[in-house]
Symmetry: C2
DNA sequence: GTTATCTTGCACACTGCTGTGCACAATACG
DNA sequence: CGTATTGTGCACAGCAGTGTGCAAGATAAC
């Protein structure tokens, strides 16, 4: 009656599939199940043992990615809204590897809705930030707060998904772009980043 | 021995297919041949009479769209580089209907190369504009000219393909966004558009 | 009115993908 | 060890799409 504990290799393989799917789908959002499974070193048949569907696999991928996104959104707490935006952009960028998938899949008609739901907390953070930035005079006021928020989202998506994540200075570019969109002049953004070099500092990543 | 002139309805149908393809693929870049043909009021079989391939159809679509793009690029001749960018953005926006297809298809792995080739003239214009803007002190200089040009391209693509073309004030939003990216503060952009109201003026379109 | 041109529907072969069933082999767990 | 769990290969059915052949019907051009 009592069931055994799940085998160790099984859970490892499951994680491996998710990793492989993340890497593969980031390049080609329509990669076949077979390609994903192979790139995880497993057979197609095995993948179906871990996930009912292509749907199920992708949903989990989006959920996990969105969680990381949302966690970052909550971790940013600068009272200066310009700094908050810069930090948010930089942090999200560093998670880019886990995020490009979401960005790519978000454009796929079938998953738009799920992605939007999963990212709701992040969007709320951005919306609040846009409002706050306008109120304290840091951000542009020629657009309404919701429009500005939407613009920030879209541009962020673009920057994340269409930049070579490995190239040096990419974080810098991403942050400057978003600050420009928010309405800062490039000199102001430049001053801000000079005053707070930790923001775009390339962190050592522990393996 | 002498061949007859092509039938009138034939050439009309060919044009109709291109129109239908433009409209359909703008929404769903992977729409089937059948859907495209039906939406042109023709049968799938007939479409194959006009175009050898799906490839052939899409290539023609891209070529035609790119031509319009490039023509616009050449038509902009303001000596003030800020104005030139604003005009370029506004004009391209107005051609959005003919352009969203290109923007959507450009993301499709299979046509990236052809699209890039077809749009080469436009890209040259943008690159030259970025350089000029930096030299005369209008644009930001915290990025290299090529990087700035690339950024302008990417953001333009985003704005064009992910905005509701029919909504009022959309042109305005697109232009402001690109000026921000170029490095202008939003107040400067605002002044510029106030001084030159013709740029974002919603033109009457003759049917 | 004749005729070449064009459209249409249907059948067909083909490709690439999804998801499942099943028997057999491998292996981690107790 | 023994055993339940997991991986694998193969076959299979199914779906959606592409591109072609062909015969019959419609129609614009002459």
């Amino acid at each position: 009656m009592t069931t055994r504990a799940p085998r160790r290799d099984s859970v490892e393989n499951r994680a491996g599939i998710l990793d492989a799917a993340r890497a593969t789908l980031a390049t080609d959002p329509r990669a076949s199940i077979d390609v994903i499974a192979r790139s995880a070193g497993l057979s197609r048949r095995t993948l179906y043992g871990h996930f009912d569907d292509r749907e199920a696999l992708i949903r989990e991928l989006i959920s996990v990615g969105a969680q990381r996104f949302n966690a970052i959104a909550e971790s940013v707490s600068d009272s200066d809204s310009r700094l908050a935006l810069a930090r948010l952009a930089a942090q999200l960028w560093r998670e880019a590897a886990h995020v490009q998938v979401a960005a790519a899949l978000a454009l796929d008609e079938a998953h738009v809705e799920h992605t939007a739901d999963a990212l709701a907390p992040l969007r709320r953070t951005v919306a609040a930030l846009a409002r706050r930035g306008q109120e304290d005079g840091s951000f542009r006021t020629d657009l309404t707060a919701p429009t500005l928020a939407r613009l920030i989202e879209e541009v962020a998506r673009t920057v994340v998904s269409r930049t070579d994540a490995s190239s040096t200075g990419a974080v810098d570019l991403a942050v400057r772009t978003l600050l420009s969109i928010a309405g800062l002049s490039w000199r102001e953004a430049d001053d801000l980043l000079t005053a707070h070099p930790d923001i775009v500092e390339s962190q050592e990543v522990s393996s």
